[in-house]
């Protein structure tokens, strides 16, 4: 696999959040490498409130990591 995650540094919190979303999806990709199956599962969880909240929890954990990596973007404010 290519070097898909060269750095945790992002210019803004907005881009840091997008990276957190990306990280949350990558674990699913690595656990279920078959794109066809993932495509079949997607509508199932994208229309289920509990699953969406669970996704949001994973994003929150990754965002904490990315925010720490970026020193919470304090210098950018």
């Amino acid at each position: 696999m290519d070097n898909w995650l060269p750095t945790l540094i992002t210019p803004t919190p907005t881009e840091g959040y997008d990276l957190a979303v990306k990280l949350s999806r990558m674990a699913i990709k690595k656990t279920q490498p078959d794109a066809a199956i993932r495509d079949r599962l997607r509508p199932e969880y994208a229309e289920d409130a509990d699953a969406l909240i669970a996704v949001s929890a994973v994003v929150a954990t990754h965002f904490a990591t990315i925010a720490a990596a970026n020193n919470h973007w304090r210098d950018a404010t």
Copy 2:
């Protein structure tokens, strides 16, 4: 998408908490971009105790990140 999250810095913990709520919702928006579907799901989880507690857990994780970014607002007290 616009720069919806320019900073994690807030004047008070109260506003930091509101930002945490916003961050918890944004992941849902990014996973389910269709506003009509989200509107349909909303009453479903807003009247379900388990879902509300799960939302609260996500807010707690984001609030930890925002509190750290603001040095826990120690200088504001």
Copy 3:
């Protein structure tokens, strides 16, 4: 909304814990602003072991944040 959370600083861990409970409930209030619905949900989760444990998890996350804000009350011991 008023400035309901002016500070994360508390004199003792006991009061810090109470604040964590308050923070865990506030997210539910902000997601379900209708007090009548919340009152209806309350007995449902207050008598359900799984829901009570889930609430406890949220309190634990908030308590970690508040403890860090208070430098773990080390100077108070």
Copy 4:
């Protein structure tokens, strides 16, 4: 309520772990103050694998906080 949590400092990790268990239970007590109901719920979750694992997760979060408060008991080793 009395000052049931005067400090997070414990002499050993063993006692820190016990304190984490205590903290995990206190949130349940504060959410369901009726001892009779809690007693009725107890066998329900104490014999349910999923509930026991969920309790263990809460303990883990509190133990992290207590360990940090005690500087991970590094000086005690």
Copy 5:
């Protein structure tokens, strides 16, 4: 109870991980002290994917604590 957790320090991450597994199990033991009931529950969760993943989450939280205690074993590399 004896001093079963005298320290969080381990020589290697491998042993730190084993300690995290031990910590995750201890909360279950303390919540359900009856070994016969625990033995009866074990096959139930050891053959259930959701329960195994939930156990893994608890181990991850404890491993974070133990890694921090050991300064992430940086000096050992």
Copy 6:
């Protein structure tokens, strides 16, 4: 068991993420050592959206630990 985790240090975040995936799986292996049972469980969770999200949550917690160990790979950028 061999020293399967000699270090948490990785050259890049990409490899750190792979290590997080490995750590998340190891707890399952240690809780259910029978490879035949694990193989039987795998399709069950690899095709279940909720289970995949739960796995992703565990990976996120481990990735936070590994990122901290590597000083968030700040020197590598």
